[in-house]
Amino acid sequence: MTKTADVVAFERNVTKALDDGQLRRNLRSAMTTLSQRRRALFADAEAFEQLRAQGQSIRRRALSRLPELLEQLEARCTDNGIQVHWAETTAEANAICLDIIRRHGAQRVIKGKSMVSEEMHLNHFLEEQGIEALETDLGEYIIQLDGETPSHIIVPAIHKNKDQIAHLFHDRIPNAPYTEVVEELNAIARQELREKFRAGEVGVSGVNFAVAETGTLCLVENEGNGRMCTTAPPVHIALMGLEKVVEKLQDVPPLLRLLTGSATGQPITTYFNMITAPRQPDERDGPQEVHLVILDNGRSSIYGDPERRATLQCIRCGACLNHCPIYTRLGGHAYGHVYPGPIGSILTPQLEGLDEAGVMASASTFCGACEEVCPVKIPFTEILRMLRNEAYARGESEHDVKGHGYRYTTVEALSWKSWALYNTSPGLARIGSQILGKLGQHLPMIGPLKEWTRTRTSPPFAPKSLHQLAQERGLDHDR
């Protein structure tokens, strides 16, 4: 069977990741810690169920009124003095940012952590335009130094250990001494970035929640770099996916607790930053201009289908990554796209098309660990199954996911048809199981059996099936 391009690329990445013992040790240790911390914070299972039922309800209520809430958000923000921009594509969003940056004659932007900016490949785009985009979150700073992309949506440099970071800093930062002491590495980054904050021209950030009721942009962070980027420069550009809006200010407290608790087991982050307006005439600091860029990039097509819409409930806590047995073994880079892990596996094929990223939906055993921890109860396995169905659905498909039917082959379709025939024809099954029982260990090692036996002994096909044994024992078979 010929493999599709996404499958070939993924398999190559998987082999590379699995062969990297250091990576696997780094990931296992980090994911174990993150899940233990989360479990400790949400130790009361009943209280957690109540809280996440609230989270689910808030997110679904917001999505059920999404167009109205976006209009309300825009109106409130505009009243408050925040300039709102809409972008259908990442190219449009990048152009909007460039335009703002150019208008201010800025040569450099300082960035707080934003997955939407990763989705836009904003840094790369700006650099092509001769503008430096500097990541200021420590994790993002580390991977930017190494020319990498985030491997996790919350802890972007989680795939690296301190020795690797020690070498990186020593090699790439002028005059940085070699040290493996985490506090000292941290101090080196602080020193490097402080200069940049002082001179910052344009700050860029993401948005964790946007409150329609008040036109408030909420940002969650620990390091203070997010506050720096949104406070020190004269211009602040906030980037958000259009699903990030919530209806009311009172929707924020439960979501905040769910977000920080699910992500890292913290009752709250060091800073929760709520921005409602640019600097007022009597104020002494804060940006004079605040811009909000609302990005679609395929989200509205997900929204149009009520079954797919649940994908947009996500608050990007990363808990599904931390608990995913597959993410834990591969890390984020192997997925080959911006959003890895379970959330990436349901989101990316819908944003980029199945023909680009459909293989991500097959990177799941349906173990359900992601669903168990998701703070807004996204039905991951249902959506993954839907995407697998779409991958093979030719012609008109039920959910019309971009690239549907890309994985269809006559051979695979025929083999499932035969499987169905076999399992609906008792006579055929009887003969089949007798053959299987006789041949047993002498089956030819081809197809699935070949894959199976690469690392396992062959299945121990029994000489007599349960059907046969039940009959021999005279079990009642139909009244």
Partner: protein, 218 residues
């Protein structure tokens, strides 16, 4: 381009493309914390201390003396403050020579960037605090701008015990955030800046303050 984008996006969001419904389940209201004042102070203190903040619970009579005593033993190049606030007036009235000099934040940031980035300490008042998650509420203002709690290595926050709420939701509700309108910037602060980006090892003092000291005036 932008005008079209807006119309296109909204019209796509309004066009449902597939059958099925999108249910919005009701969620039962959660009974929040209900602690008395003493318990709220205690919980806030514990939570802040866990996050490496230093907490001093002091009386309304003694708080200034306590603050001065603690600053006297430190070598700090200055204390950034906001003149024209009750806190600023109290500091000015009580300040002494052997203390870190008071540094007023009176000019726009563009004219005092160096000073703001070099001063060792800053002191602000607070809007309140949240016992549940151990956070201070700050509403930076014209008199106490945003950077005061961000650029100095030591941030001292003065909190009136009576403004410690059980939960974030309770603070929003009882302080009437909606009714009075949101400030340009509202903040929750739960400790000195920190990171765990290297091997999840928690270290304090990244881009924001390295130390947070909270004076709870009871």
């Amino acid at each position: 381009m932008t005008a079209n984008a807006r119309a296109n996006i909204l019209s796509r969001l309004r066009a449902t493309t597939a059958q099925g419904s999108f249910a919005v389940p009701d969620a039962p209201a959660i009974a929040g914390l209900a602690l008395n004042l003493e318990e709220r102070i205690d919980r806030l203190r514990r939570m802040l201390e866990t996050m490496h903040a230093e907490v001093w619970v002091v009386s309304s009579v003694a708080w200034l003396d306590e603050l001065k005593a603690r600053l006297r033993v430190r070598t700090l190049n200055g204390l950034l403050y906001g003149p024209g606030t009750p806190l600023g007036a109290a500091l000015e009235a009580a300040w002494e020579e052997n203390l870190p000099p008071l540094v007023p934040y009176v000019e726009p940031v563009e004219q005092c960037r160096e000073r703001l980035f070099n001063v060792d300490a800053g002191i602000t008042s607070t809007q309140g605090a949240i016992a549940e998650n151990g956070a201070l509420i700050l509403w930076p203002s014209a008199a106490e701008p945003r950077l005061m709690s961000l650029t100095p290595g030591l941030h001292i926050a003065v909190l009136e015990a009576g403004t410690i709420f059980n939960t974030f939701a309770e603070a929003i509700d009882q302080q009437g955030w909606l009714e009075q309108g949101m400030p340009t910037n509202a903040l929750l602060v739960s400790g000195p800046s920190k990171t765990a980006d290297i091997e999840l090892t928690l270290t304090f003092g990244v881009h924001g303050p390295k130390e947070l000291a909270v004076l709870i005036v009871a």
